[in-house]
């Protein structure tokens, strides 16, 4: 039954992404001053928004790892799979956000990169989660899960700084178009194209997340079986 559902789900996700692509490239009007290059907005912004979603998943799962570590190791292990998957997908989305930004900045600003508050905090956010993934490779077992969860709490502390960066400071990065005060906002066709792309990339990311969690759970089962077998052999 589960396998039967996967096929329409994959089709649905692909259709949604195609629809998002169609909206962004063909339906949304060309921006008056920047021209076609502005369309990268429909990829840059959704990935920026969604990396918060995945890092938040990582944060919540990490808190659960810490809460269940002693009382319920089985649940803690499951939460750890969620934390790992959240960090990996979040880092991927943050990377795409950091790559599409300079691609847009070069023709519009004339430079690839500038050290303003938004760009700098985004880069720091990316660095923290890369270091999180590194920690997971450097240590092993339940000890590593607790240490990684602790690091995830520190990573989550950087998220609000990043979110507020172009709200507190005057940055070269454009000021927020969503929730940025009375002057922010978008024309309806632009908002529609952005909305469809946020939805499409969210569903896509969640699908990747689900697959990654499934893989990690299998890996945990294999590790567990090997440990039990090693104990039995003694």
């Amino acid at each position: 039954m589960k396998k039967l559902l996967i096929f329409p789900a994959v089709l649905g996700i692909l259709a949604l992404m195609a629809w998002g692509f169609y909206q962004a490239i063909y339906i949304a009007p060309t921006e008056a001053t920047m021209g076609e290059v502005q369309r990268i907005f429909y990829y840059h912004v959704p990935h920026g928004i969604l990396c918060y979603l995945f890092f938040s998943i990582n944060f919540v799962a990490s808190m659960l790892v810490l809460a269940w570590r002693r009382s319920n190791p089985a649940k803690s292990l499951a939460a750890d799979a969620w934390a790992l998957a959240g960090a990996e997908v979040g880092t991927l989305y943050c990377t795409i956000n950091l790559v599409t930004g300079p691609l847009w900045a070069r023709p519009v600003w004339g430079i690839w990169w500038t050290w303003d508050a938004r760009l700098t905090t985004s880069l720091i956010l990316w660095l923290i989660y890369v270091s999180y993934l590194l920690v997971r490779r450097f240590a092993a077992g339940s000890e590593m899960q607790a240490l990684a969860a602790v690091l995830a709490v520190f990573g989550a502390l950087d998220m609000p700084i990043n979110y507020l960066a172009n709200r507190i400071w005057r940055t070269q990065h454009p000021s927020p178009v969503i929730g940025g005060g009375p002057e922010s906002g978008m024309a309806p066709p632009i908002a529609a194209a952005l909305g469809w792309n946020v939805l499409a990339w969210a569903v896509w990311g969640l699908a990747v997340l689900a697959i990654r969690i499934h893989l990690e759970r299998r890996q945990q089962a294999i590790d567990n079986a090997e440990a039990v077998a090693a104990l039995a052999a003694d």
Partner: protein, 237 residues
Amino acid sequence: MMDQPLQTSSNARWAALVWAHLRKDMRIEWRSREAINSMLFFALLVVVLFSMAFDPTLDASREIAGGVLCVATLFASVSALNQAWAREIRHQVLDALRMTPGGGAAIFLAKVLTNFCFVTLVQCVLAPIFFIFYNLHPLGDARLLALVIPLGTWALVSNGTFFAALSIRSRNRELLLPLVLFPIFLPALLAMVLAVKTILTGDNSDPDQLWIKMLACYDIIFTTVSLLLFDTVLEAE
């Protein structure tokens, strides 16, 4: 009603525990002087290296001096922070410490205070050399340096002590500490460097002292989180 004296006495006991841990760390350092000597020489080397790499002429030096001082302290303290916990691993001292009544927070706070003293001492020795090598005379309010530098040092030492304890159990821990610490410390480094630059150049670009306030907020938030989570790091196995 009866709780009041009990509360005070348990607070006093906790403070006494922190003081005991602190005295122990200070005495070990006083007998060996390993951490301070290596930090001092290392920081000196970094300052010399930078002044050769960048040729500090008068105007440019004010712009970069804050950054060089921060980075020199950062590199120097990383080497010492690893040692601070590696020393406790030998002969299972850390396991013994875990059985002391004050819990992880007391051990952590004492370690941070000790390391803070060491790094501050190194900075006090380094500062005159630094001002001579870079021909500095601050154009802004130099008294603010006495606020900014300790705040930045606290951010470095508090996070550094925490993540040194975190990475002590991993394979190649010497490598892991900077990999984890530097990204987390970056916001504080940025605030510290910009605050020092504003003071040295006196350019009045930050009239509200926003960077100093940010640094203080960073210190409060990150130290609180470290104190709360240190037990988890200590018991992680």
